[in-house]
């Protein structure tokens, strides 16, 4: 067990609970700050409890990753975000399921997931963030009861920025892998540093 990470995880989760109302007042902080922070808390928890001791088979890892993705999709639906503001049960479900089913599950499964599935999910995540941006910026109606149309548009731009940021974060290592590539070409072995 790694205690500092555990403490950090609890601290993140605690702040989420503590600043719940402030963060939920604005859909941008609600969706782009509170939800990711909850997931991070779950991730840290799984890491601190020693996820490396789990030896997952690839098929199980793939299945778990898909579970995590479904949880993400679920919490992207406006109606559940809306419901979590009015229904304490849904709110509780959010505070439990996001750390566990998204953060912890992906912490355990992601690395062992098949690289093709990982790449596919990343590409899809970018496309879908684009779709959300499209729809939220131009939606003619209020999608959430609790938030205004202007808020919804700001959230749309937020999705767009997240998509751009993620595409950079994900693309750069493809060009310059940290390990210099697992099995570089044999006749390149005497190469200068990239």
């Amino acid at each position: 067990m790694r205690r500092p990470l555990l403490i950090l995880s609890i601290a993140v989760f605690g702040s989420c609970v503590l600043f719940r109302q402030t963060l939920e007042r604005d859909p941008v902080t609600h969706v782009l700050l509170l939800l990711p922070a909850l997931a991070v808390a779950g991730w840290l928890m799984a890491v601190s409890l020693g996820r490396h001791r789990l030896r997952l088979r690839e098929a199980d890892a793939n299945a778990l990753t898909l579970l995590g993705v479904f949880a993400i999709l679920f919490w992207m639906l406006p109606r559940y975000i809306d419901a979590s503001l009015t229904n304490p049960l849904v709110e509780a479900a959010k505070f439990i399921s996001v750390p566990l089913c998204i953060g912890a599950v992906l912490a355990v499964s992601w690395k062992a997931t098949h690289p093709f599935l990982r790449g596919f999910l990343k590409a899809n995540a970018l496309s879908m963030l684009g779709v959300l941006a499209f729809l939220y910026i131009h939606a003619p109606v209020r999608i959430c009861n609790s938030y205004l149309e202007v808020d919804q548009q700001r959230l749309g731009y937020g999705f767009l920025f997240v998509a751009l940021a993620l595409s950079l974060v994900w693309a750069v290592p493809l060009f310059f892998p940290a390990d210099g590539g697992a099995t570089p070409n044999k006749h390149l072995s005497g190469r200068a540093t990239a």
Partner: protein, 480 residues
């Protein structure tokens, strides 16, 4: 995956090229029918013309993509181990998409064009129901997902094997001053570049497709029309260009067998491919030169980069080809002839394209047949000729009696080159006379060119049938 060794998946690729050849032939017949209808040689109901135009556009672009993908898969397989299962998944999704598109067009009567430009698919004036437009787009989604899998399956092993895309693109040679002997082979440089920009194109395309689908299902959800147009043309431009850039790998890999000199990755070659990688994505605004609401800088960028984009690679490829051909004992057969023709056709085709890329010219020419004129040159005489050359090479004879060109080969080759050039030239002439593109019914003054073009198209169709049937027959005969 580690125990798989690098070898081309000959069977799967031969199968793909059989499909591609057959669909090319079929879509050409449809093109012929459209051209004959414009020339009043046959009667077509206008809505049916637009269904044919949609299936011709989508079918040709999709098939060009498929054949480019097959070429690239084959040759990348020489250098890195590839997953055959992923390839079959790609083919399955591709064919599923084809079924959706055909159903949407021929049963659902969708006729909104291959560019599904927002909001046209949703406002058909009752010509087709929303479900037909939705099914058409779902067909694209399926093909797009297939291509995404394809590029993951190509990109990942390349990245692993060459230590990241920077090295696969040869940047250590292009910018780092490393010895060109350390560079990956041309096929890998090309495959890495295409994989990067086509994946980006697909991600953008998927976003606008899904948003358009939502709009069809919930019409209240409008999308921004100008943004949608930008995204659609970004995707369309990148995708059709990717098909050319994938198919050209056949030239790099096959021509050396005929000249006896290997095609090497040089520093200039690396720089040209890096230029393509950037510019192919920056030039798409040349499709929007008529949209006066676009920011002027974007249009100027589109114009300027249009010059820069194609030229370096084309120059490098065409120039190297001349150098390799010159002074080597080239063996001419159907495959090598078609491949050399393809590089020539591709080069010639960019000239009218660049002319159209000038904002001042584009104001007048854009919606005329000048546009189909230029792209039919580098599609018919470029991509399709490369595909047919690759097919001929796949089933090339090994016996001495089968090397060289038979009389039939010679005739088919000549008819194809002449037919395609003449056919495209007639489009250019019509365009220069301001005949609009995409019109089902032509005025009497325009009909003469239409009829001459129809005759040239017959030559193309007949010679294509010769190529494809010969391929199918030899495929049946060849072991494996």
């Amino acid at each position: 995956m580690a125990d798989v060794k690098a070898e081309p998946h000959t069977g799967a690729v031969k199968f793909s090229m059989l499909i591609a050849g057959a669909v090319f032939a079929l879509m050409m017949v449809i093109g012929l029918v459209m051209r004959a209808a414009q020339g009043n040689l046959i009667e077509l109901e206008a809505p049916f013309f637009y269904q044919l135009l949609s299936v011709h556009g989508a079918g040709m672009v999709g098939t060009a993509g498929l054949s480019g993908a097959a070429v690239m898969w084959y040759f990348v397989g020489r250098y890195v181990p590839l997953s055959a299962r992923m390839y079959w998944a790609f083919i399955a999704l591709f064919l599923l998409g084809v079924v959706f598109i055909l159903t949407a067009i021929f049963i659902g009567r969708y006729g909104g064009g291959w560019t599904f430009l927002f909001p046209l698919p949703a406002i058909s004036g009752e010509a087709w129901e929303p479900w037909a437009a939705a099914l058409f787009m779902l067909g694209y989604v399926s093909i797009g997902v297939g291509f995404l899998l394809y590029h993951l399956a190509v990109g990942y092993p390349i990245m692993k094997h060459y230590g990241g895309f920077a090295r696969a693109l040869g940047w250590h040679v292009g910018f780092g001053g490393a010895d060109p002997a350390d560079a990956p082979p041309p096929a890998i440089v090309a495959a890495a570049a295409v994989t990067i920009f086509n994946t980006i194109g697909i991600i953008v395309g998927a976003a606008v497709l899904v948003a358009s689908l939502v709009h069809l299902l919930v019409p209240g959800f409008a999308v921004d029309a100008l943004l949608a147009k930008n995204m659609i043309f970004f995707f369309g431009h990148v995708f059709i260009n990717a098909s050319i850039y994938m198919a050209v790998i056949a030239v790099y890999e096959i021509v050396p067998e005929y000249t006896g000199r290997p095609w090497k990755t040089s520093r200039v070659f690396v720089l040209a491919w890096t230029a393509i990688l950037l510019f192919v994505m920056a030039v798409y605004p040349h499709h929007l030169l008529q949209d006066v609401v676009m920011p002027p800088w974007a249009l100027v960028l589109g114009q300027v980069v249009s010059y820069l984009s194609g030229i370096p690679l084309l120059a490098v490829t065409a120039f190297s080809l001349c150098v390799y051909l010159h002074g080597s004992k080239m063996r001419w057969d159907l495959a090598s002839s078609l491949l050399v023709l393809a590089v020539a056709g591709w080069s010639v085709g960019t000239v009218p394209a660049i002319i159209d890329g000038m904002i001042s010219v584009n104001k007048i020419m854009h919606n005329t047949q000048w546009v189909p004129g230029h792209f039919h040159i580098y599609l018919l005489l470029g991509v399709v000729a490369m595909s047919f050359g690759f097919m001929a090479w796949l089933v090339r004879g090994t016996k001495a009696s089968e090397s060289g060109m038979s009389g039939l080969d010679r005739m088919a080759f000549g008819a194809y080159a002449l037919g395609a050039a003449g056919f495209a030239l007639m489009f250019l002439i019509s365009g220069a006379m301001s005949v609009p593109r995409r019109w089902a019914v032509h005025l009497p003054e325009w009909v003469l060119q239409d009829r001459i073009a129809t005759a040239f198209a017959v030559l193309v169709v007949v010679s294509t049938l010769v190529f494809v049937i010969k391929y199918a027959v030899r495929l049946g005969r060849a072991p494996g």
